[in-house]
Subunit: 154 residues, 2 copies
DNA sequence: TGTAGGACTTCAAGTAACTTGAGGTTCAAG
DNA sequence: CTTGAACCTCAAGTTACTTGAAGTCCTACA
């Protein structure tokens, strides 16, 4: 599945990045802000990582993709590490995030409709002429849309 | 409709902000980056605005809400100002943005499903116990989900 | 074994798009 | 004329990284 990648420990930062779906600078950044532990080093100073690090970083990246801000990811990592708190904490975190995502979805749907209308109106009414009166521009000033792009002119 | 607001010129920055749906610092910021023209000042140094500014700022805010980055808004403002370029430019800009929004929508829908599943799984399987094996945490490391939160414990 | 060049190192600054804070001035109402 | 809200400027903070400079290390190939 990953033929080019060494399956056991001692991953370089580049290999870890590739396998976890991040970038080397991002990993260094996460180390700097304490989101991942300080990596062990080789003699030359290069960072080395093992499978546990890969798992952790994958977890973090997935959380980020799901829209959790770093602070919440920190809590989740914490939960994962010490396992001392209730599983319900994690569920509630996910639930709150789900609500956020649903809100964002609703907003985006409105935007989609508005943009689609804009494009559509212009397609219907414009003929490519110069556009001080273009519906798109006029619509966006929230005054009522008038004719688009003046009289048709190929 | 806006009983507390003076309908003609000489709006203060606060009044302009309120009517355009922005904040005073944001307006100053826009002035600083050259997105809006430098405001005229009263003797005391306070900025004053007129209806043209309100229209322009409303336009900008709407563009921002529609997800256009500042640079694109700048182009659109430009179009609005000199009206020299084709209306089709505006439409294409809107169209590209629409595509972005649709992509984002699709991604968010996937996220929504994933989060909903997470929450649901945990509701179904968790009993609130301490959670090193919680599905949420395990799912996110992309290993297969196992039992949630160990044996049920109130 | 030498070497070329790709990957790594650190540190600093840049990015987007504002927001927040400090410290001081001006305006409008009573 | 006073008081307090709103304004002013300038600087720094925010989020989550990315990019750049200048230098070191590692590995594969000849």
């Amino acid at each position: 599945m990953f033929p080019d990648i060494d399956m056991d420990r001692a991953l370089s930062i580049g290999a870890l990045a590739k396998r976890s779906g991040t970038n080397p600078p991002t990993i260094r950044y996460y180390e700097e802000i304490g989101l991942v532990r300080r990596a062990e080093r080789r003699d030359g100073g290069h960072r080395t990582y093992g499978d546990a690090d890969l798992k952790r970083l994958t977890f973090i990246r997935r959380c980020r993709e799901l829209g959790f801000p770093i602070d919440q990811v920190r809590s989740l990592v914490d939960l994962l590490e010490n396992g001392a708190r209730s599983c319900l904490d994690a569920r509630d975190l996910a639930r709150r995030n789900l609500e956020d995502v649903q809100t964002k979805l609703a907003e985006l749907k409105v935007l989609e409709a508005e943009l689609a209308k804009l494009v559509n109106d212009c397609d219907a009414a414009c003929a490519g002429g110069p556009g001080p009166d273009c519906v798109i521009l006029e619509d966006l000033t929230q005054t009522r849309a008038r004719s688009c792009c003046g009289p048709k002119a190929a």
